[in-house]
Amino acid sequence: MSTYLDLSSDPALIGGFSPSSGRYHFPLATVCPYTGADDVEEVRLSATGRLWAWTAVTAAPPGYEGPIPYGFGIVELEAEGLRIVTRLTEPDPSRLEAGQPMRLVADHLPGDLVAWSFAPEEASFATETSS
């Protein structure tokens, strides 16, 4: 997982950027997946984004030994123009809404596996639930 997630300081996803195509990608690839440009630079992606799609997984998929249910969705990183497929810390879809601010967290799973996940930003969540 170290190829996907940098845990040396605050967690960050490791992606790529091609100056000639102007596009970011994830996970890090040897060439730009959109243009084939051969000038990819390794970058740390933004740790904050907005929720674009979400659901919950209610039965363990093949090879998975972590908690059930778990949240699953897509978060938009506007700065990089990317949509990231991710686990979500919130397993109840009714507690999430489109566009809400999310923050990257490290998710510790069985077998010393650290997956990436996104959690609702606490401040914004408190604001939404009180309104």
């Binding site: 959109y34 799609a53 979400w54 919950a56 998929p61 093949p62 998975y64 699953f72 969705g73 686990r87």
Partner: protein, 377 residues
Amino acid sequence: MTAVEIAGVGLHPFGRFEDQTATSMGVTALRAALDDAGWSIDDARRRVGAAFCATAYGGVAAGHRVLGGLALTGIPIVDVEAGCASGGAALSLAAGTIASGQHDAAIVVGIEKMPKGIIRSSFFAPWQEQSGLAATPAYFALRAQRTMHDHGLTKDDLAALVVKNRGWGELNPNAMFRSAVTAEQVLGSRLVCEPLHLWMLCSPNEGAAAVLLRRAEGGSGAVQLAAVALRSHLPGHVLDESTPMAGLIDDGDITPPTTLAVRDAYEQAGVGPDDVDVAECQDTDAARELLTWSELGLCAAGDQRSMLHGDRGQVVNRSGGLLSKGEPLGASALGQVVELVGQLRGTAGARQVDGARVGLAHTIGRGANASVTILRR
């Protein structure tokens, strides 16, 4: 290019068959296709130049086992895997050998005997499985949520789609689920991944289908293979069937593989979406079929609800679709061809679309791969 026609089709029902192997089901389907063509095994030995076997789980030399079961080895036999589009890919390769003048006839057979539950394959890496990222229905659910959002659809529309397909499935003796359902029952079935309930998802299962192609014989009256196209995805769509870990926010200009394939097919056949009288399309889940309608041009984006509740929606998946038949990966695309050949011959019985002359079959799945076949009579 030499024109290609359908000499015969055959099917082994789709479902669960403890006493059958993938090979034995394939032999049954192929034998039925030869019988349908009126060809003896001797005829096939003389005329068939190549065979293509569509399967994802059949293992090494799956096609050789099927062809060997009818003493038809000696010719080139090639197994073809292209996810849910495997049958379309095999059909495309076989048609090419005839269109190019290489062979006079070719066999296409699709076989599958799948494990129960969520499809497990080597598609995902072990770390993705361990991270819970191999949750296939969850990807379908995310696409369903976005499809509902972008096309103005509700869970009631998804349920209505299931009611439509299961209603036709009740009339198909080769389907796995042969009972009509109500919207209340669909919405009351177990929630798998919001918004998708169990009955909105197709079931992996078992079955086989076979198509015998030959060089067109003018005036034979046979169903013509007007087009067959196979395409893969362009990168950037986070929710396409290539199941990437990321995609672009700015994805509006990325043409989906289904649209790439159908454009090729319409051009080859010289028809457009309004000419399609009857269609079989990929209903992996209820929202997938509705999204596919717009990707095929059968309706405009956002017009799915009116098509669903009108007559036009009823000409799609007269077989009952995968929601009724289940999905044996290698056989499913060829099963669609078997259904359409019946429709164009006017022998589809209670499921018949009256006067159907142009039929379209579509699959989309892992890869991503999309196939579109157009038949005409």
